[in-house]
Subunit: 344 residues, 2 copies
């Protein structure tokens, strides 16, 4: 299993990505840094394993590396971007950059994006704002593929529709980065490939009956919204992601139209300074975190962790020990590199 | 069990409330209409049952009916209100009215409120915006009383911290109005009073062990965040409610300070017209709702309902059949009316 530093992994990814026809050097850099940041956070499913898929999609025209992001509508506090199916990370980063700039001047901003190719790990864009002292929320729908039924239903109509919310602190941000389904689809695929059952409360089969068989998802079954017995709450939030990220932006929702597979985004940024001095806000957040941590731990729990903290700890570890890439992923990445004539 | 029309119930509530010393007539009207709307939605726990409690709190100084709402900070798209502990519904309505007015001019708005007495049913304020074609979100923390532990913890640090999100449609709005705890505290109290057990996944006892005994909540136990096995998601959202509604606004979070019991609010309004023509947006939402409803129902489910729909159906029924008030609640309300010299 090869092991890389973050800088090495970014350089490898960049070298390959910039060989995908029409990819601009700066875009390859943005995507490569994004893939590495996913590995650092421990989300290998959003790392360089995606490179062969991106290459394939570029050949099929689902990704249009030559295109650039356009601003279709704009007011002082809002904008609507058309990604024109260029690199999704580039579209998402631009949406966040514009939202931050608008929030600097107007304290709050909302920027939508449509025709947006796969953006990767949503939370990493929210962190861009928190790193500069802003509060960020990203409502990111998936369209073109569905996995989740409406509450009470037995046919998929929604994607796993994540929400990411980042809040700055005196140290590392709070990052709530969650799918509105009980788990991401990748976990079902892994269980299926390993021949394992999935826990109760994850899946319904094609008739709407509970099942522990991961294969059921790929045979007309559905992934449940999060919430367990009150799963209507997770369904409601998943709907809101579609309404903000898909309907408001025009990206589209679910498989309503013949839209290409992609993400619809609404990025929102709030400047705490509209409400309170920046340093006072950070102190309030830090005091609140200390107050939460002061709760007695439940049996078997070593420590109370804040949202995002497991990922930051993984990042510290991987910056120290390097990022290991499994042999099969590495083989596929090398194959793609060879096909593109990239030297690693 | 007496039965009233909505207009009768509002008039009864208004007559009593305006006798609570220093209460302005227009404030009594706002609160009375709010209490009736809670009954119409089927949420009797937020209806006239609250009147004796409000009277008690006014006498104790927790509610300051003489005070008025002040704007402490303001920018074109944001404001921070100080409710000065006047009627909570008045503060919440004013926050929403200001946010709507700002969104009319600037497309997006965020208005916070602190020193805010009990606001009642949060969703009803979100509906004010949706009724005028805007998207609204309300992050409403509770402070001064806590029920929910941080994920992994066994000591309460957060209130049940609801979020309400309303989106306009061509017909009745979508309304997601949920606590970030698995259920509201009232359900535990009802089970305790009836001597019933609560379902698995609702409660931990004071040692952090799962329990079905509702009394455990009032003996150092905690209510779980929503999400079941992925309850860290509900906890993360509950934290966000505290950070936006409590820390950003200065209302306070949990029982960190010696703050009075109240609600901290962040009200956000988005004008869809910043992104797309208003009628196109409504059509997209209606098409999306029809698409969700077209899913096959799961076994035992008669019909797929949208968030907020059960409450709208209840409203239709109660407008037709009247609102019944249980005898004990009616007795308490009459007692309060007599104490205040209100004639019903």
């Amino acid at each position: 299993m090869p092991n890389f530093t973050a800088a090495q992994l970014t350089e490898i990814a960049e070298r390959i990505l910039c060989r995908i026809p029409h990819t601009r050097g700066e875009d390859a850099r943005v995507v490569a840094e994004h893939l590495t940041s996913a590995h650092l956070a421990g989300h290998d499913s959003h790392g360089i394993i995606r490179i062969p898929q991106y290459h394939q999609h570029a050949r099929e025209g689902r990704l249009n590396a030559a295109a650039t992001v356009e601003i279709e509508r704009e007011t002082p506090g809002t904008a609507l971007l058309n990604g024109n199916w260029t690199w999704g990370q580039v579209t998402a980063k631009q949406a966040m950059d514009i939202a931050i700039e608008k929030a600097r001047h107007h304290h709050i901003a909302a920027v939508g994006a449509r025709q947006c190719y796969h953006v990767g790990r949503v939370g990493s864009f929210a962190l861009l704002a928190a790193g500069r002292g802003f509060i960020a929320r990203i409502w990111c729908n998936g369209h073109g593929i569905v996995r989740v039924a409406p509450w009470g239903g037995a046919e998929a109509r929604l994607a796993t529709n994540p929400v990411a919310i980042a809040v700055p602190t005196g140290g590392r941000p709070i990052l709530v980065d969650i799918t509105t389904s009980v788990v991401a689809e990748g976990k079902i695929r892994v269980a299926k490939n390993k021949g394992e059952k999935v826990p109760d409360g994850w899946l319904l089969d094609k008739d709407g009956a509970p099942t522990n068989d991961p294969a059921a998802l790929y045979d007309g079954g559905t992934l449940l919204p999060f919430g367990g017995p009150v799963g209507y709450k997770g369904f409601g939030l998943g709907m809101v992601v579609d309404l903000l990220g898909g309907a408001l932006t025009g990206a589209g929702c679910g498989v309503m139209s013949k839209e290409k597979i992609g993400n619809g985004l609404l990025v929102e940024v709030v400047d705490p300074a509209a409400f309170v001095e920046r340093d006072v806000f950070l102190r309030r957040v830090d005091d609140y975190v200390a107050y939460l941590r002061s709760a007695k731990a439940a049996p078997g729990v070593k420590e109370i962790l804040m949202p995002g903290e497991p990922e930051f700890r993984m990042e510290d570890q991987r910056r120290r020990d390097g990022i290991s890439v499994d042999d099969e992923t590495w083989r596929q990445v090398c194959e793609t590199a060879a096909a593109l004539g990239a030297t690693l």
